[in-house]
Amino acid sequence: MPEKLFRHVGKSPTRSEAIEKVSGRANYVFDLEFPGMLYAKVLHSPYAHAEILSVDLSEAKALTGVKAILTGEDLPYLLGLYMLDKGILARGKVRYIGEPVVAVAAIDLRTAEKAISLIKVDYKVLPAVLTIDEALKGEILVHKDINDLEYVKNVFFPQPDSNIASWNKAIKGDIKQGFAEADVIIENELSLPAVAHVPLETHVAIAKADPFTKRVEIWTSSQSPFGVRQMLAKALGISQGDVRVVVPHIGGGFGGKAGIHLEPLVVVLSRAARGKPVKIIATREEEFSQLPSRAAMRGRVKTGVKYDGKITASEITFDWDSGAYADYGVNVGRAAQYSGAGAYEIPNLEINSRTLYTNKVYSTAYRGFGHLETHWVIERQMDLIAQALKMDPYEFRMKNILREGSVTISGEIINQYSGRPDQCLAAVAKEIGWTGYRSKEEREVSFKTGKVRGKGIACLQKAPAMPSNTATSALLQFDADGNVRVMIGAIDMGQGAMTVMEQIAAEVLDMPLEKVRVSSETDTDKNPYDWSTVASKYTFMGGKAVTRGAMDMLSQMKEVASQILRCPVDELTHGQEKIFIRQNPHKAVSYQDIAMGYLYDNGNSIGGPIIGRGVYIAEGLTFLDPDKGQGLPALDWTFGAHGVELEVDVETGEVQILKISSAFDVGKAINPKLCEGQIIGGVLQGLGSAFMEGFKFSAEGRLLNPSFMDYKIPTSQDIPTIVVPILIENPQADGPFGARGVGEHPMISVPSVIANALYDALGINFYELPLSSEKIALAIARSEAEHKEPLSE
């Protein structure tokens, strides 16, 4: 594609909401108050699995200031994104420690807390399902009624009388044959614990239910206002028009705010409190232990390869310890079905991905869902195979990497517009000066200095996971002075959607950026529909919708200008905020003069307010066939790679990242600075998963680290010395200006690249996350003891 000159696209204007945010004026739901507002608190289950025998509310009800108390028995509603398996409060049974059992709304938080402390619940404790193997055994069922649950058919596959919420399969070629052709077969097991999203603003929601009608209004820190509207309407049996969902700024999401969480609870409390507004703010502890996390996972992988490094077959089983409710978890499992082999061409393959119910806090989408996890398995396995073959892992990857003409595991053919994982890998390898694994001798020499260095590489891919009819829309309107207001349905949680959409609208309309503004609050009563702000899909889909909306404005303006200028539409063009005759540019009419309708000197007027409409619906996607997972699951793949150089202190096991370079084929960076922001931030989140984050549970299933004291996330002291983002631009033919999404991708494969580099440094392979310094120091000590010499293979 010839390089076009753009006025706004490819530039990096500052984010449009930045001033609000640095001045402290940006409103979050956490900041909102309404007159007469009540505050809600919930009572949590102390047991992982128990029957609720009785609830005594008498004392709590008698407390002055308590306006509503509800238990699961009052709320015969079932919620779920893909499986209707969750009540608003536990009904009959509790399924994890932390599950809300009773909810109170009171005039202030203290009263609500007091009321909670006065509630008595009798439980009959049941044996719990706390591990993947217990879940698979199926002797105890988390959902006894699994056979009767309503779910999305042909996409998810719950197994009867089991804890398997969904079993998704991919079959390509013939693995028997593939393994028969292999010279070497390598099997490994890798795992990682559940982790938390940790948005700085915890989940918070306010609801106001009109006591005289079915109308409910909700203000929520959510990534999916339209999803909340739809699911809530369905659960309560009211129309979607009865539900208004408003989302102002949100303090981080990362997927954790993509489903429906606290919203239904405040709605029913507000109804019970005769329409008073009710607010609930999750405490940090609740954010960890009540609200959903990223699932733990165990991957078992068996790969057949030729001596020359060509992969012949791969068989992978992913088991997701997904907690008590399906939520997004089943879709995370499904992502492994079409993306679980990484950015490689595998001729013969079988993937089994099982999303399992367990009696732990449930899981949901988390930035790049499923992919950091599956890539932990795949990208480690790539290095482990290279080690077994005594091959350079770079060459080994390059031998198998997806290229034009390759067939993905779901049968999609990679074409010239699909992006180039090989270029990403080459770019990071060059950036870190990759020359292959160090030799044993080199390791031994540096070991004596007390600090050893190692380098690693890893690839990644992700496509947006979405229903095949995912849609979005945009409305663009002129103000009378010729400024443009763009209304979208997406949420800007810091990724910069507003800014990017402003750039795109201003580009298409050829206007100054300052004259285009995207509204920063999304209100389902006013803004046009968007499915959900997830999956790194918005630049692509929203970009298309805004482009179309802006083009719609241009064609409406040309219609009017054609009359004013007495010239056929096809002779007209635009620029400098004017519509003009191509051949005769001084014959022009300004946007401003047409914006609200054109007024002739004699008082006649024509046209009318210009309102552009742009929609986009995912094109050409198919359901995956249920037995083999073949089909077209996603719009676009964004490929990427990381290269890292790190230094390990052999005494303490502490690791310093000297340099991490991350390359992504973004097609076209609409705003390079925002892309780089996603990369720098995402990489550090990935380093959190790599080094420090992970839920720990007691034998009873209690989360042991539900606070920042015990659950550390990276601080300014944990950052890499250098991060080098690399943006590669092989345009996506159908992307807006060629762009693809990149919001989630930077954290994928970060743990893998770290463990790969640790092998290079230490000659030790790690199979479990997180790679804490204690774990590393212990492994070094063990390796020394075993070999009586440091760092042998």
């Binding site: 500052t14 930045a18 001033i19 402290g24 202030d108 303090g251 920042f708 601080t715 300014s716």
Partner: protein, 181 residues
């Protein structure tokens, strides 16, 4: 949207934490250059007094237990976690919140540098981050990178990866140094 937001000054009602049945104590302090006098619940935290009482909503809460820095303000020249301090401890104190960083409708250099370096994404950590940075720069206009990292080590940010924040603080120091000359 929030009917109470534009009002200023301590309020009797509309507060989650000011319990009308509690005894009151008298508090007087300086907040963003204005003298404040109020009857307050002796158990209210400074964070809640600022947010609920004074309606200064810029200061955020991310944990309520001193572990995230979202509530950082400057009190008598020190960056402190307002969620850990009782409002009564602020007797006669001089307090600056994010709302006090800019004057006369002009962003301060620090705020402008956060904007131009893209040192924020969701923005929820930003007010606290700015206050930790301000306290550092009030001590020294020549901070080293390790000093900057140390100054914001108690401020969690899940979005930015910190590097743009460090860059913004460092460029602010430079600009403020030049301005002083």
């Amino acid at each position: 949207m929030c009917e109470n937001q534009s009002q200023h000054g301590p309020q009797e009602h509309c507060s989650t934490y000011i319990d009308s049945q509690q005894p009151r104590v008298f508090l007087s302090c300086w907040v963003n250059g204005e003298i404040i006098s109020a009857q307050i619940d002796p158990m209210i935290t400074l964070l809640n007094f600022l947010r609920q009482g004074l309606k200064l909503l810029g200061t955020k809460e991310g944990c309520g237990e001193g572990e995230c820095g979202a509530c950082t303000i400057i009190m008598n020249g020190e960056a402190v976690n307002a969620c850990l301090i009782l409002a009564v401890e602020a007797q006669d104190a001089e307090i600056t919140t994010v709302e006090g960083l800019s004057t006369g409708g002009q962003l301060s250099i620090l705020q402008s540098e956060f904007v131009s370096q893209d040192a924020l994404q969701c923005g929820f950590c930003t007010p606290g981050m700015l206050m930790s940075a301000r306290a550092l720069l009030d001590r020294t206009l020549d901070p080293t990178d390790p000093e900057i990292k140390e100054a914001i080590a108690g401020n969690l940010c899940r979005c930015t990866g910190y590097s743009p924040i460090i860059a913004a603080i460092s460029s602010t120091a430079k600009k403020e140094r030049e301005e002083r000359k």
